[in-house]
Symmetry: C2
Subunit: 551 residues, 2 copies
């Protein structure tokens, strides 16, 4: 008490004892307190199949937004404003890197063509459909001040699925095929939407000709290939440095530090030379988990595996909290000048377009794939198509970030503000509705016996065929290839070319494995080329979890 009175007599001394802007400190305190609460609630509702961390964070963000609004008596507060820089510089990279680092590489590459097809063509289809429909429907509602560019931007904005939330509703272990396709598509989709969005931003609509589309395709291919290459090079470089210098000799900290720094550096360099940082850091994560991770000490392996997951987890929770709080930024609502009716009409139109836009490519593309692919085990059943459609309906932080980029800043019309609030409503609604229903829905649509019916088994057997064929030139192949029917008693010195045609992915995977073992791993390290391998970041997770449970 005495001390406290002393302090009271020293108001000026107390006021200046912090070096920061008080509002920054308050904002950080509020956010971190909410993060703590989110984590605790997320833990408590873990076994509840309707809820997950994203929904908790979003709802908590909304509640906090209400409280802040009431406390600040409807005066705008900077705490609520979504900051693009914070999102793209600090929150997105750890999430995407960790996704690449923990993804089951075999599943991912096995479904690579499917992922690319959905992620690229699907997103383009969705973009065209949403832009076109928005152009006609939103004008009918009475919003007339938007130009062609804005409608195209809306198409790109609403085509970006939320891969973060997908990670939480789909299980990598229970539904590996769906997980790898929907999540992989999500990453490619993010990159595609951002490229489309940027293309729209810079297109000159006074001079559109047939070449424009071709140029767009060229740009996209250039971005995709160079971004991927950059990520691969960064990953390989880190593997080579750590293998050659053997950092673990002196300090495990340096190993972990160089992995973090090189991954982040790859993202920033990609952004610097105008490539897609998301693709770069994703592939950097994949390469690091395949090579670098096996070159470090056991301590560093554990640290990176759990440390990266934790960073990604914090960033994810933070984003949803942020989006939730941001939805209640009173300034935007005030400046939209829209009646509740208009607002609801626009939001529900956009919401409907999201459903439609995704349906317009998931079902057609899946059926095209079923027609082209000959083997029974790889066909995508209608139930799976439905889940693929449904699980990709959530819209998240990328949508919010792109929407701010398009409709704030220079563009301060009431229509622009209306578009921001409508996008926010779509994001919040889709996360709450689809996020909470997806898990129970999967349980209904895909009973447990169906889940285990993956193409893993078939493919492993095909791989076995190939090994026998290519490596041992054996004659004793039994019919795993269902499409060959009964004509498999003939002598079987099949050429690798024929196999490559009938089983392209598996063959490529097999040839890659041979190349990897012969040329890559001796230089860059990797499983089997370091003395002691206790479980990859993706592999023996269960054994590790068991060890955790036991301790």
């Amino acid at each position: 008490m005495a001390f406290h009175e002393t302090i009271q007599q020293f108001p000026s001394l107390q006021k200046s004892s912090s070096f920061f802007d008080p509002s920054t400190v308050i904002a950080i305190c509020v956010f971190f307190t909410l993060l703590c609460v989110c984590i605790i609630i997320g833990h408590l509702v873990e076994e509840n199949r309707w809820a997950n961390e994203s929904i908790t964070a979003l709802l908590l963000g909304l509640c906090a937004g209400v409280v802040v609004l009431l406390l600040s008596k409807s005066i705008s507060t900077s705490i609520l404003v979504f900051n693009e820089d914070l999102f793209f510089l600090y929150l997105l990279p750890p999430i995407i890197f960790n996704a690449g680092f923990q993804v089951k590489k075999k599943q991912f590459f096995k479904n690579f063509t499917t992922i690319l097809m959905f992620g690229v063509f699907g997103t383009v289809i969705s973009f065209c459909l949403i832009s076109l429909c928005a152009f006609y429907l939103i004008k009918k509602i009475g919003v007339t001040n938007l130009d062609t560019k804005d409608y195209l931007a809306i198409g790109a904005i609403l085509s970006a699925t939320d891969s973060v939330c997908t990670l939480q509703v789909l299980s990598q272990d229970e539904t590996p095929f769906l997980y790898s396709v929907v999540f992989g598509e999500g990453v490619v989709n993010d990159a595609t939407s951002i490229v489309l969005f940027n293309a729209v931003q810079s297109l000159d609509f006074s001079n559109v000709d047939g070449l424009t589309a071709l140029k767009l395709v060229g740009t996209f291919l250039y971005l995709f290939i160079t971004s991927t290459l950059l990520g691969v090079v960064a990953g390989l470089l880190s593997a080579f440095i750590i293998k050659t210098l053997y950092f673990g000799r002196h300090s495990t900290d340096r190993e972990v530090a160089i992995m973090i720094i090189m991954a982040y550096l790859s993202y920033m360099i990609a952004e610097l030379i105008n490539l897609s940082g998301i693709l770069t850091i994703f592939f950097c994560g994949i390469v690091m988990s395949h090579y670098t991770w096996h070159n470090v000490t056991e301590s560093s392996r554990r640290t990176t595996k759990h440390g990266f997951a934790t960073l990604s987890f914090i960033a994810e929770t933070f984003i949803f909290l942020y989006v939730g709080m941001d939805a209640l930024d009173i300034d935007k609502w005030k400046s939209s000048h829209a009646s509740a009716g208009t607002s609801i009409a626009v939001s529900s139109t956009l919401f409907g377009l999201v459903l439609l836009g995704r349906a317009a490519f998931v079902f057609p593309l899946a059926n095209i794939k079923n027609l082209v692919g000959k083997r029974e085990g790889t066909k995508i059943k209608f139930r799976q198509q439905f889940i693929m459609w449904w699980a990709g309906l959530m819209r998240g932080a990328i949508t919010v970030a792109l929407s701010y980029h398009q409709f704030s800043g220079s563009n301060t019309s009431s229509e622009a503000a209306l578009m921001i609030t409508s996008t926010l409503i779509v994001v919040v609604l889709s996360t709450l509705v689809f996020g909470s229903i997806t898990k129970p829905l999967i349980e209904v649509v895909m009973p447990r016996q169906l889940k285990s019916l993956n193409s893993d088994v078939t493919d492993n057997q095909s791989l076995e065929d190939l090994r026998i064929l290519l490596l041992e030139n054996g004659d004793s192949i039994d019919d795993q290839d269902n499409n060959n029917g009964n004509n498999n008693q003939q002598p079987r010195r099949a050429s690798s070319l024929r196999l490559l045609i009938s089983n392209p992915t598996t063959t490529v995977h097999y040839l890659w494995r041979k190349f990897d073992d012969k040329f890559m791993r001796p230089v860059f390290g990797g499983r089997g080329f370091v003395p002691y391998v206790p479980g990859s970041p993706t592999g023996e997770a269960d054994a590790d979890a068991d060890a955790d449970e036991a301790s």
Copy 2:
């Protein structure tokens, strides 16, 4: 090539595809590339006793500064400007937290009175001396425009030792006593300097009376006690939450996340209510390593132990790189308008005052402690005093940050710019000189046989005495207490009061252990109250390192 040409035709599309300010991206790329280089060089010079990571980073920062200067043709570049917010919000907290988390608690608390004495009284003595001498000497050089407040600020600025660099030149395992005293003093010293600095900032010099000093003392005690308490409460809360809810059941990520977030939150809350965030997060780290760390799963233990160390390591390297680059900010040099002679005179005066200011309290206080302390084993030898003086001479990022706070912004006189450049010279020089010479010096001054002559053994035996006395009321104590000489054949049912007086620290430690086992650990968890304990973050580091080497 074809793609590249396509891109060339699309300049506007390419330009806008990044969402950030290009200068931010460039700055981040440069810093992270330099960090990579630092880590690699630091690894290569690990066995060189003259160099360490701080010096490498500082030199590399200087070189990079030169390159940036040449490239930008002496135009001021924002990349070089030291940012207080970045330092105090993001770089300092992980370093101090990790210091608390990894500190050997037993050593730290055993030397707690010494640490407090050096950290508080020592800093005050240094502050008074440096202020007073600077007041007379700098005026003589010809710098006349500074007022009393500035001189007092210089005293506080130059009294802040650099605990980061100390961590690198002293070894916790080789010289535990010196390490714990010098480093512990460093943490308390940081807090004291910042409190003194803030007090100076807000003092009204038109109205100084006898009460002012008393008020300062009151403020300091209030800050010290409440900050410590806040850190302890935050640590205990995290231990309680993790123990009660058992996060590890579902996810190890949540455990690690909640530890990081609560630690950071404690720092921010301390800053919010104008306490010393440094002290708070330091004690939070200590409590977390004592309780919380034992409540989490084995995976989380490894992850936190190495993860926090890595974060701290990156932040440290970053700071030195930053200070190195910042030293070449051409704007400051231009605006100081000082001749080389004046600049050198002021810098060397300040440098000399740093040496003098530290000597003025290390030797007297150490000898006072030797006079008061009765037991032979706890006396601080002259060699140790010398190392204590020497190892605390480095000035670092806190000095830079405080100097910017005082002499930039509103105060744009050429004298103020001169003070910033002079402080920077002192920081760079002291880090290079003392940083590189300390390790070899310790080897010369303290040969290996002397290093192991620590009071550990004696104290462990004293603790054993106490256990026998207090717990078992035994009669069989042999003479560990050298001051009692030969009169120890008498019956020894010494009262705990007498022991408390003769061995205050040990007794307090013993009583604390009893209290801890009976009341604290059952509630908050900790070693022995969780099923499986594989080595604390401070304890079995060697066993862990062995495991790393083997893998």
